[in-house]
Subunit: 139 residues, 3 copies
């Protein structure tokens, strides 16, 4: 049994879903673990993680619209406003999605379903540098 750690750095431009499946699969492949567990961890509170359909890009548009609707950028709703009108909605959208994901590894690959992609969900309007920590354990 062995383990390894890696940090992915993703430069985001604005709100939205950024697919990181390829980066995650590429690193996992270099680690030569046949069976194990992959954990993906987002080191932020205004960006989060999501596993979602990666076939039709309309799904990403609808998800973005949905979260804008249920956690709107409306300063009158929130007490916390010092980091800008998009900050508190970003914290709420993060709370409603994921900070960590765990995916079993089978035959050297994360056991993603046919239509599953791994996404970083950026909730801030301006560009940010996001760190995603990957942990792999197995043999």
């Amino acid at each position: 049994m062995r383990q390894s750690l890696h940090t992915l750095t993703i430069e985001t431009k604005t709100r939205g879903l950024i697919e990181i499946t390829r980066e995650v699969l590429r690193w996992t492949a270099t680690e030569s673990v046949a069976s194990g567990l992959l954990t993906i961890y987002c080191r932020h509170t205004s960006a989060s993680l999501l596993i979602q359909e990666n076939a039709d890009p309309d799904v990403q548009t609808d998800l973005q619209n949905y979260f804008e609707e249920i956690a709107p950028e409306d300063p009158e709703r929130y007490v916390h406003g010092i980091e800008g009108p998009d900050d508190m909605p970003a914290h709420i959208r993060t709370a409603l999605t994921q900070t960590s994901l765990s995916i079993p590894v089978i035959d050297g690959k994360p056991a993603l379903g046919t239509w599953q992609g791994i996404y970083l969900f950026e909730h801030r309007a301006k560009p940010h540098r996001r760190e995603i920590v990957l942990h792999l354990i197995g043999d």
Copy 2:
């Protein structure tokens, strides 16, 4: 330290919470791991996982109603519609719940609380064949 992997296949009939606690506990018991970590992973983007109360079935009814209300099947709200009116709400309901769950194993059993059950949350109207991957590591 050792690990094992298993895939549960669940045939769903329609929307709703399907308890899989018994299936998960049964497999875990056969693996004879006294202490460790169990990970449950759903290989789909229109069905998800949830740990919820398994005492009063009304809780499941209310959860189903709640998610139908906050992510309604209303084609006018969504761009993505090619897989049917229940598909985009299914992706949203998946985003709001879990794709993976991790449960410590103590004395050979997942450390579920007294009232906790593990559920597959089916979000599609028609029957589907769902794959849940289980990963256990420990000794």
Copy 3:
């Protein structure tokens, strides 16, 4: 590779976010694991886990208000009412947040981002005794 388990017991007073970062870091530090994976598990269905900003306490106020708004204590909305008007909203708020969290451990510490704190999110009005199971694996 080795692992350890620990249970934190938290006495809550009423609804709200209770930071448990210090308790989690303190236990992790005693285990002397340089690299690994920490899993935090909540053994309840009316309290949950969240990683959120721990700088401005207004964020916690806004999160509490938000979840009260989207899953209100309104008995007419729910079938399940036998455990009090705050019980079904508590189950919904738990479903929308986390029951388990996994955090990679780097250089002996969970890889939390600069502003990240670990919170127990109590959803019941009256005091409760909550059990949080910690699992650490690594070397």
